[in-house]
Symmetry: C2
Subunit: 311 residues, 2 copies
């Protein structure tokens, strides 16, 4: 057992227009860092949280400790681990903040214990247990990309079936995170209970096209497929300036744009870094008139997922 392990786990975008609850991808930055150290007594504890004062220190309520504890319970409940969380992804931003912390903690704990779980893939269910206490749902659509990198399909959550798609080499993302509060539970209430069959056909055609575009590195097809006729129409109004942000992104040459997770973050996909910068600039300009504080990120698709930081 090592004395301490430091791990970086990236933010992620889930839903990805037509891929509601099914598709997600990891971005290079931001990402949470977790330091896991041998603890004196059994159980996972939170030693300190750097960068956020809204996250619970109580290990039963913190996604990172719950995830790491799930792994510890599986290996040996007598093990003790202390976690220090460097929180770089703002909670409630819609870019997988809780998934990042849960994944980082699980990965760090497994490294600290000498990788008793040999296949990184098999860490997903432990991280999902952590994420569940934040989102209320047992979903892998942020956890899996944060852990594995690239685009992933969650074919099924139960039984868990996650498919790795990698990412086209020139694909970049721009994320605008408006500083407004959207509760996932409230956002879920807006979802339609029933969907017209015609919309299902449109949505499935686009999702099939998007998956094919990602695997065939067909940027034009990716762009043609990025339409959501089911979820975006009901959620768009919860994000102030969504229409303007999306319009600015497309006007500046983005392949497509949509809501990240259940918002409030808005993402665009772009071909190439130059295009991403142009899209970023136009989205920023479009949003400045709204008098809402926001963060913005330009990033290639993260292909490595969660990594140990060697000092």
């Amino acid at each position: 057992m090592s004395k301490s392990i430091r791990v970086y786990s990236p933010a992620s975008v889930s839903n990805v227009t037509c891929g509601f609850d099914v598709l997600g991808f990891a971005i290079e930055k931001p990402g949470d860092i977790i330091l896991a150290e041998q603890g004196g007594k059994p159980g996972v504890r939170i030693k300190e949280i750097v960068g956020s004062d809204s996250i619970p220190l109580n290990p039963l309520e913190n996604v990172a400790s719950v995830a790491a504890q799930a792994l510890v319970n599986h290996i040996d409940p007598k093990i003790g681990i202390d976690l220090t969380i460097y929180k770089n992804i703002k909670p409630g931003s819609g870019i997988g903040s809780s998934a990042s912390s849960a994944v980082a903690a699980t990965f760090a704990a497994n490294q600290l214990l000498g990788t008793p779980i040999k296949n990184t893939f098999d860490l997903i269910p432990f991280a999902m247990q952590g994420e569940q206490i934040a989102s209320g749902a047992f979903h892998a659509d942020n956890v899996a990309p944060a852990l594995l990198g690239g685009f992933i399909i969650v074919r099924s959550n139960d039984p868990l079936d996650v498919v790795q798609l990698g990412a086209p080499p020139d694909l970049y993302t721009v994320v605008i995170h408006p500083d407004v509060q959207i509760k996932t539970s409230e956002s879920r209430k807006l979802l339609p209970g029933q969907v017209p069959l015609k919309s299902l056909v449109t949505q499935t055609g686009n999702l099939a096209g998007l998956v094919a575009g990602l695997l065939q590195h067909d940027y034009s097809l990716i762009g043609r497929s990025m339409h959501d006729v089911i979820i975006e129409p009901v959620r768009a109004s919860t994000i102030p300036g969504f229409v303007e942000l999306k319009s600015a992104a497309l006007h500046a040459g983005a392949l497509g744009a949509g809501i990240s997770g259940s918002g409030p973050s808005v993402f665009a996909l772009c071909k190439g870094e130059i295009s991403a910068h142009k899209v970023h600039d136009e989205m920023k300009i479009a949003y400045e008139s709204f008098n809402i504080k926001f963060d913005s990120y330009i990033s290639p698709i993260n292909k490595k997922g969660t990594i140990q930081i060697i000092d």
Copy 2:
């Protein structure tokens, strides 16, 4: 302009479990053959139909002549073409009988005229016009695979956006065509107007998995993804013995099975020829107790689509 052209266009399976109205693939056999010859006066005529007496000779009612006429109208309405149709795919079988004839006629007419349409892909809309008079819908999900081969996604019918997926090398299909009548229009009436959002998520997860499995040549993923929670449950009862056929296929090792088009044909996908023969035998045995005549086919996925036959 050549004097005569002979063309083979294969049967095809559309819908493909979770890919309702979106996914299709071509099979090696059966397939229709069309002989196109220079005609004496303007317009496309049907000279003879060999192998079926239920198909209209009136060129305004026949999918092949309507499709070829659409192309002729586009090139030069003064052109005359006589078609002889060798009908090998039974009409109403659910394996793209009308699409095969429409595609063969379009392709043959284009060859006869010295390929004024340079890109085969661009023949799709003409063939769709023919198919439309048989199915009542303007759909490319049988036309596109019959023309191009392999698996195809119809991302959108209008504007037309078709994506070619090719096919994994060891993928085979078994088709059982029970000799019963199902009217597509009746079968359409069974479709639900609305679909629960939860079913949409299940269906989209499976379709994304199926597309990824086809492109990554992951046979296990193809099998895990071949589930239809929306259409098959309402249409299964229209096909006598469907449950038994599907069960026999899966029991014999098929990756998955489902309704071809709107039936009555039932198809299975298998890894390798040996498995396909086993699945074929078990499906035949299962169906013999139903006292319904049936045809059966074993075939690799057709990768070439429609071809000119050089005598």
